[in-house]
Every structure is written in structure tokens, then in C-alpha cells.
């Protein structure tokens, strides 16, 4: 029987991007999940959709959205993440809880290339999101959707385990 964490999770990233150019083509995008390349795409659409599987042996899962292939000839290429959905859950403000790492040329000693909460990639680089495992429960917590129970209506693991033991020993 499949374990909960083995069920594939669907991610949708909604984009805006620069137009097609005869010389430069479309912006190029790569998705990494826990250092594994999920796919490479031409950003010629509004949504990129892909599936991931959690690795619960890791404490943290890492999603990276790369913009690559831009050079001095392709100056007007850009791509911007507008929204993200995981299993159709709108990540809302969690989308902004990200770090951008720009690829800085060796002669630029001024900037660190690290930008927080910036989803616009006008240069080569990537935006990174980190999630604690299990991923969906982390999102629930960060969205602030965990419901506090009211007095007299509680549900606890302690009682569950006690009752489980009772019925499985019958």
C-alpha cells in the first residue's frame, strides 16, 4: 500500500515572461526539486505544471525555479513568478517567502546576488523556496490555517492511541 508521503504532489507555477524574439527565442526555465532536475521548459505559457514526491528522510525540501540561457545577445529576456499552487492550494504569501540567487559576473564585486522576496528574474539565477517535511502540513502552518480546538471539543493523539490499543487488543 502506498504511503502518504509517496503520493505525487502537483505544483503549478503561474508566470509572466518576455515575448518571443526571433533572435533570442523564449526565456528558458528549469525546475529543481531537492537538487534533482524535474524539467526544463521554454517559458512560452502562463503556467508550468509538474509533479514532485516528498523525501521524508530530509528535514527540508527545496524547490528551485531557474532562469537560464540569457546572454549579452538576449538582453530583453525575463520571467516572473506570479502565483504558486501545490495540489491546488494557493500558496499566497508563502510564495514570497523565497530567496533569489542571481548569477553575478566575476567582475561585479558590488552585489551579493542574494535577494529576498523577489520573484522577478531579469538575469540568470534562481528563486528558492524551502519547506519543512511533511510539505503540506508545513504549508498549512505557514498559511495560518491550522484550527485551534475549542474547549470540550478536543481531539488528541493521546486518546486516539489509547482507544486504538483498546480496539486492536480485542
Amino acid at each position: 500500500m502506498i504511503e502518504l508521503h509517496e503520493i505525487p504532489i502537483t505544483v503549478k507555477i503561474h508566470l509572466e515572461h518576455s515575448d518571443y524574439n526571433d533572435t533570442n527565442g523564449w526565456p528558458l526555465v528549469q525546475i529543481d526539486w531537492n537538487d534533482t532536475v524535474i524539467g526544463r521548459y521554454e517559458a512560452n505559457c502562463d503556467v508550468i505544471e509538474f509533479k514532485i514526491v516528498q523525501d521524508v528522510t530530509r528535514e527540508t525540501s527545496v524547490l528551485r525555479f531557474h532562469h537560464y540561457g540569457k546572454n549579452y545577445i538576449a538582453e530583453d529576456k525575463w520571467v516572473e513568478v506570479k502565483k504558486m499552487y501545490i495540489n491546488n492550494i494557493d500558496l499566497q504569501h508563502v510564495t514570497w517567502d523565497s530567496v533569489q540567487h542571481a548569477f553575478i559576473p566575476p567582475w561585479d564585486n558590488e552585489s551579493s546576488g542574494v535577494l529576498h522576496s523577489n520573484l522577478y528574474l531579469g538575469h540568470n539565477g534562481y528563486v528558492e523556496w524551502q519547506f519543512k517535511n511533511p510539505l503540506l502540513l508545513d504549508i498549512q502552518k505557514r498559511l495560518g490555517k491550522h484550527v485551534e480546538q475549542i474547549h470540550g471539543q478536543e481531539t488528541t493523539r493521546e486518546v486516539l492511541e489509547k482507544v486504538k490499543e483498546y480496539f486492536w487488543n480485542q
Partner: protein, 495 residues
């Protein structure tokens, strides 16, 4: 004072009880003076959590109690009697909201005997111990026979109470008998008058300053096999949406209340009335330069097909402030739901959930585990569907699930009435008399033993907790389930 209407333990403290204030309004409309006293709140308001549980159990499950808690209860009874004697109304009306109010009603009546010279009237769903639809009410009948009370009112109280006050009691259906007749025109009934209770310290949920109950219908449009509502309310009656909106606006103007909880079995039984309600509210907001969702309102809701309630309906209802929909989903297996006669498909549920999410609303699932026809495959389908719907729990669209205490067979339900044809029988030879409660087995689905039902109930809760659903009232339900199982296997369940 013509009548004092009270409610007694044990009922919820989350907002004022609906019936006493409604009946006050009705009596006043007929020209009588009426007052409401919430004796339930008076008792529980001063108690801490542990004492509250212990005292509540005294009334609800008739548990024994320590001397200290008994003194609290005795003092409270003395206070109730003193208040009644001081007001000295011609009539005392006691709202017996559920069978869990029976003990307090009886003990208070005993203490009033010989002291209070007026007439005592009792009414409410708690007149019957084995379900609202019991053919004969046992509790009311007994208290009248024992001369502890003068009248019981079976069914609705609005007309009957006024006729008693008018001393026309011989003409009233449902008065000291079970032959009640339903009121057909609910729009003519007065609005509730909450003057006596509006400023009392109810335990409103954290995000609400004040909340009032409201009732737009009685009965149900469905006839689910496990339910007794349609047996008690023979006909589904409902108010017009405009009349309901008028009451909400009236209560807002009078008390400043903007949050309402519908006590109906379903708020969308009449689609016409439902549409009229949200459209009237939206028009009121527009006419008075109030924002969308100026009021918030919710209650029990049935899943409809997209042709019955479409995307525009969801958007309009959300704009008017509908939220917090408690949906009797019962099972996520279509086979099981079909047998229950729930009347909606998986596709209808998918549509409904997505509309609730898209319009920024939330909902609550009511579930029954271990329905007689539930096979292993049906149960597995329910678990898989909860996994499929996990996203709705994560983003708060489903804010809670109530898994109940597995299927209980109540008197008056189709399962109860057709138990022989359906192959339902006692789990052992212990059952004498009528089949009810958890002590049943389906001869056509023998794998679904009582133990198997209990295990499925536990497994479902475990999965839901792992998936991030908020399971409500699980501790109480599981503990009670364990006790019931123990009593059934020891042959003491029916005693």
C-alpha cells in the same frame, strides 16, 4: 408577568438558545408579557473547565458527583427557585432542548412543587429520550402523569403556548398528547426578542463579538435512511428569503449583531428562498453603502448539483456573507451515500468544494463511519477521497471534520423501521425489544462487525490527523465508543 421562559442544563453556551427568545417574541406579539432567563448559563458561567465537565456529566450522562459539585448544583437549584418565586409568573415555560436537559427539568420541577403556584409547561425535542421522532414522548408524558408539570407541548410551541396563555388549551394539538400539527406559514411568526439575554456572557467563538441563532426552515427535503428529522417534521416548511433577511436586518438594527448561525437542518432546502435571502442581503448592503459580507451567516447545508446551485449562486451567497457550512457528507463512497439516499454524486461534491474554495468560504464535514452496507472497498474509497481532498484541509476550505461515533440506529429512522427487511439484527442475544443504538449487525454484510466498525472509526481519525484535517470532538466520541463497545460485549447496553 404572564410567562417566564427558561432553559436548563445542559446546552451549549456558544450563543443564546433560540427557542426561549423566539417564544418570548411570539407571546408578546399576542399581547402577553414574557421574560427569558438562561439558567443554564447561570450555572456554567462561574465554573472552571474541570468542574464544568463534571457538572455537565451529572445532567447529560447522569454520572455520580462529588459533594462539592453537588453543593454547586444544589445552590444553583435554590437560586433558580428563588428567582422564579420572586418573579412569580402565571406560567413557567421550560425548554427541554434535548434529552440531556431532562434531569435538570425534572429536578427543578420537584423543587418547585408546593412552592410555585403557577402552571408549568415543558416543550422541546428532549421530551423523547430515544430520538425526536419517537411515536410517543416518554419524558413529557411521565412528568404530567406524576403531576410535576401541568402541560407538555409536542411539536412546535408558537401557537400552542399562546393558546395556553389564552386559556384555550383544550383546542391545542400536541398539548399533553403526541398528535401535533405543523405550522405551515412560518413568515407570520414574530421575530425572536433577545432583550433578556443579549448582554449575557456567552462563549462566542473567538472571532465573533456576538452571534445570534436564526431559523429559516423546519424539517428536511431529503429522507436519509439514518435520520429521524423527516419522521418528526412530516413536511418541510420554510420562510421566504426576504422574511429571513428582514429578521437579520432587524436584529442588526436592534442589537448591532452581524453574525448569525442558522439552526435549520439545512439552509438551502428551498433554492428559491436561499436565492432570495442572499439577493436581499446583497441589495441591502448596496442600498446602505455597506461592504460585501457585512453580515456573516452559516449553518447546515446540503450538497446540490451544479444545475440546482450554480457558480453564480455560490458567488452571490459568499458576497452576502455565507460561510461555515456544516455539510452532512456522511461517506465519501458513492455506493454508501446512494443507499443512504443522500442524493448527490462525487462530482457534485467536487464542484461544491471547489466553489466554496474559489469564493473564500469554508465548510465542515459530518461523517458516518460503519454504515450497514459499507464494504471494505467502500471504506477504502472514503480514505482515499479524504487523501484526495487534503488540499482543502490545508488551505482551510474544510475547517473541520466530525466523524461521529459510528452509525447509531435511532427510533423513527428508515433503518430502524425497515431493520428486519434490511437484515439488521442485534450483535448478540443480548438485545431485547427494539433495535437501537450501536448494538446491531448487518446479516448481509457480516464482515462489518461492531469491532470492525470501531476500528474503521479509529483508523479514519488517525489518517485525518496525519493529513492535517482538524477532527472535532474526537476524544469524547472515541471514549464513548469504547464504553459502548464494552457495554455491548458485556450485555449491559440495553439495561
Amino acid at each position: 408577568m404572564d410567562i417566564l421562559i427558561i432553559n436548563v442544563p445542559s446546552v451549549s453556551l456558544v450563543y443564546p438558545a433560540a427557542a426561549p427568545s423566539l417564544l418570548k417574541g411570539v407571546c408578546e406579539q399576542a399581547g402577553f408579557t414574557a421574560s427569558v432567563a438562561d439558567f443554564n448559563l447561570q450555572l456554567f458561567d462561574a465554573l472552571d473547565g474541570t468542574t464544568q465537565t463534571s457538572v455537565s456529566n451529572y445532567f447529560t450522562v447522569r454520572s455520580s458527583i462529588g459533594n462539592e459539585d453537588q453543593k454547586i448544583i444544589n445552590d444553583w437549584y435554590d437560586s433558580c427557585v428563588n428567582q422564579i418565586l420572586e418573579i412569580n409568573p402565571k406560567f413557567l415555560g421550560i425548554s427541554v432542548f434535548t434529552f440531556e436537559c431532562q434531569r435538570a427539568t425534572e429536578e427543578l420541577a420537584q423543587r418547585l412543587k408546593g412552592l410555585y403556584t403557577g402552571k408549568i409547561i415543558i416543550g422541546g425535542a428532549g421530551l423523547s429520550t430515544n430520538g425526536i421522532a419517537s411515536e410517543k414522548n416518554d419524558f413529557g408524558t411521565r412528568l404530567v402523569e406524576e403531576k410535576l408539570v401541568d402541560f407538555f407541548i409536542r411539536g412546535e410551541g408558537e401557537h400552542a403556548l399562546v393558546e395556553i396563555l389564552r386559556k384555550n388549551s383544550s383546542t391545542v394539538s400536541g398539548l399533553n398528547n403526541d398528535d401535533y400539527v405543523q405550522i405551515t406559514n412560518l413568515d407570520d411568526i414574530a421575530f425572536p426578542n433577545y432583550d433578556d439575554v443579549i448582554d449575557l456572557p456567552y462563549r462566542y467563538t473567538s472571532n465573533v463579538e456576538k452571534q445570534l441563532p436564526i431559523t429559516s426552515s423546519r424539517g428536511c427535503v431529503r429522507s436519509c435512511t439514518f435520520c429521524d428529522i423527516h419522521a418528526f417534521w412530516k413536511k418541510y416548511t420554510f420562510r421566504s428569503g426576504a422574511n429571513v433577511a428582514e429578521e437579520m436586518i432587524h436584529q442588526y438594527n436592534k442589537y448591532g449583531v452581524t453574525n448569525f448561525f442558522f439552526t435549520d437542518s439545512l439552509i438551502n432546502g428551498s433554492i428559491k428562498s436561499f436565492r432570495e435571502l442572499y439577493k436581499t442581503l446583497n441589495q441591502y448592503y448596496a442600498d446602505n453603502n455597506l461592504g460585501d459580507k457585512f453580515f456573516t451567516w452559516g449553518g447546515q447545508y446540503i450538497v446540490r448539483t451544479p444545475t440546482q446551485l450554480n457558480a453564480d449562486d455560490f458567488a452571490g451567497a459568499a458576497r452576502s456573507g455565507m460561510n461555515g457550512l456544516a455539510m452532512g457528507i456522511e461517506s465519501l463512497s458513492e455506493n454508501v451515500r446512494d443507499h443512504m439516499k443522500k442524493g448527490f454524486s462525487n462530482a457534485d461534491l467536487d464542484f461544491t468544494l471547489e466553489q466554496i474554495r474559489l469564493n473564500g468560504m469554508n465548510c465542515y464535514f459530518l461523517i458516518i463511519i460503519g454504515y450497514p452496507t459499507e464494504t471494505v472497498e467502500d471504506f477504502q474509497e472514503t480514505l482515499e477521497s479524504f487523501t484526495k481532498y487534503q488540499g482543502y484541509a490545508i488551505d482551510g476550505t474544510i475547517f473541520g471534520v466530525n466523524l461521529g461515533g459510528t452509525l447509531s440506529i435511532d427510533e423513527g429512522t428508515p433503518l430502524h423501521l425497515n431493520s428486519v427487511d434490511l437484515g439488521l439484527d442485534f450483535t448478540s442475544d443480548s438485545g431485547a425489544g427494539t433495535l437501537f443504538g450501536l448494538d446491531w449487525v448487518d446479516q448481509q454484510n457480516k464482515d462489518l462487525t461492531l469491532l470492525e466498525r470501531c476500528r474503521r472509526r479509529v483508523s479514519t481519525q488517525e489518517l485525518l490527523m496525519n493529513l492535517g484535517y482538524t477532527v472535532w470532538n474526537g476524544d469524547h466520541q472515541l471514549t464513548r465508543l469504547m464504553r459502548s463497545y464494552d457495554r455491548i460485549t458485556r450485555n449491559s447496553y440495553h439495561s
